[in-house]
Subunit: 393 residues, 2 copies
Amino acid sequence: MDIKGFQFSAVEAAIKKQGRKDLALIFSEVPAQAAAVFTTNAVKAAPVLLSAERIAGGRAQALVVNSGNANACTGEQGMRAARETSRLVAEGLGLPDEAVQVSSTGVIGVQLPMDRMRAAIPALVEGLTSGTLDDVAEAIMTTDTFPKMEARSGQAGGVSYTVAGIAKGSGMIMPNMATMLSFIITDAAVEAQTLDRCFRRAVATSFNAITVDGDTSTNDTCLVLANGMAGNQAIAGETPEALAFEALLRDVLLSLAKQIVKDGEGATKFVEIRVTGAKSDADAKRAAMAVANSSLVKTAFFGQDANWGRIFAAVGYSGAEVDQSLLSLCFDTVCMAKHGVFAGGDAEALGTEVLRKKEFTVSVDLGLGAGAATVYTSDLSHEYVNINADYRS
Amino acid sequence: MDIKGFQFSAVEAAIKKQGRKDLALIFSEVPAQAAAVFTTNAVKAAPVLLSAERIAGGRAQALVVNSGNANACTGEQGMRAARETSRLVAEGLGLPDEAVQVSSTGVIGVQLPMDRMRAAIPALVEGLTSGTLDDVAEAIMTTDTFPKMEARSGQAGGVSYTVAGIAKGSGMIMPNMATMLSFIITDAAVEAQTLDRCFRRAVATSFNAITVDGDTSTNDTCLVLANGMAGNQAIAGETPEALAFEALLRDVLLSLAKQIVKDGEGATKFVEIRVTGAKSDADAKRAAMAVANSSLVKTAFFGQDANWGRIFAAVGYSGAEVDQSLLSLCFDTVCMAKHGVFAGGDAEALGTEVLRKKEFTVSVDLGLGAGAATVYTSDLSHEYVNINADYRS
């Protein structure tokens, strides 16, 4: 991956129990244009509060992130810990405090062990000479079973640039940035408003279109840094270059989002829920999310049970406008129900075949209008219960 | 139980596979004042559509109910089946069709086996001479592990009367009447508007304050029949008699609602979630429901993990107005968090002790106002996944 002007580092600060790297740093050699989307939860972690305040200026040069501790529900002491962490990193790098973004993920309600953070930060800064983005992707994992990365290259005015991203998250995944961290870096030069607009639109149809369990966390952060070191003329406006950049960014985000669903806690299935024929796109998303979040639907996926009736029931309570006599539903290309009733014939056997696959699509047509939405989800398995019953022990 | 003028019957119509009784009848010897609350799901079962139309008149004399098949997502054929069922019962009892309420619960999307219904209805009507309310409570069970009944006696103007109720439901339990049937009978005479008002208020703080998995079904029905055969002067208005009747009705409904949660699919815990200090009662209910429906919170209950941070996170995304620095939380009388942060001391050990109990209370204070709400829920266990993965097989 050829991405100019970024350095990476990850060390073990012993915040997690497992003896794995848990403190990481991304550094841009020059100040970068920055944009971010944070959790919509009213209970926000200290690093979210601090970073959101700083990102308002639209610039950042470093990101320090720890796993193993969310630094959420930690009050004033937690805010001091987030500030001290960023100050120590800023001092090590010779940056103003405000240039440092801070991010945390892990257990809620426990104070960050600042003694261990202080001890680890010098090595973290030194490690920048030899680290890789892979190291950072591994260090931010919590219950993730694999690191999540994606990179794509594009061109602007004949100059090549790269967009690379990493993400973590496997439980508490829900639209509006649920326990999920994702950091995107690019060496492209992008004008501030254009970066912000492209990023928000890309997030809406990627990270905000996935759900594992319907919970929204206190720490979610999706951050993009564009340092311009590719040397292109800044991408701006609604030009072909800007549209191409947005498409590339969206590809990277969608790939990361899908990786998160595939790594969903205990997931054995990856399911795309497509709703069409809704009165509006918002209605379509409401219906798709109700299906994607229904425990009853998700356990039926796990059981490979072609129980389309539960899907209609979820659509029915989603709040979307619904006429039950117009509903139709397919598993991949197998039509299970039409005009609100069972399609008959071989549908049951063929539909069950589809559900035996590891990945499939559920298409629901509401028959009312042109509204459409697609969301991605997993099934609900025994393993989800295992992981979350014992998370802190 | 001394409840005048009601007769009961239950037979095996072979709609369920298990060889258990699955078709039941409740008959009042005289026309009864009736009120009902039906599912809010936009996808409504045929019997719900038919019964809702009929209840508008405020009178009913019989209820026929089957388990094993929901007669939902069954289109015109399903409507014809519901109408034929009620007509056969009406003929057997010598009643007009409109006096019969129809109710169904079970698998969605499969046509009701009318040949078996036709064959069973004569025996169902004949059985009224010897059946009991217990028989009906058993016949309406689906994944329930025990029948749910409650009865209380009261007085109006020196005349004794009884309110008795049965219910079924153990999955898809969520406010607004989620796959839950409940039938309440009383020999009290109650004026129409008073019955309707008392019933709706009692439902709001009982059946609409429980949740197992957040799904809302296509078939939910809560029906009350008051036949007046106790001989009291009709209870009416906001008199002491009406208030006493409402309290009694609420006791019966709340007992049935709690029985449903205790029988929640795979439930190993019964948890009362009390939210106080909200800006409004509606905000308090939003927060309590978010906690009660969070898969992460419920798996932590199952794991006996005193993970109060997940509860704050759920309150934070509930949509209720929240100031995280004012939040406090107790498990029974153990204060786990105050001013938004961990309470320290022995809280972790003591809180874990509380969570080892089969029943406990989670109290969350938002510190903002006088709004309060209580809801009841269960944990999320392996067994929930088992039951729902294999429901139809």
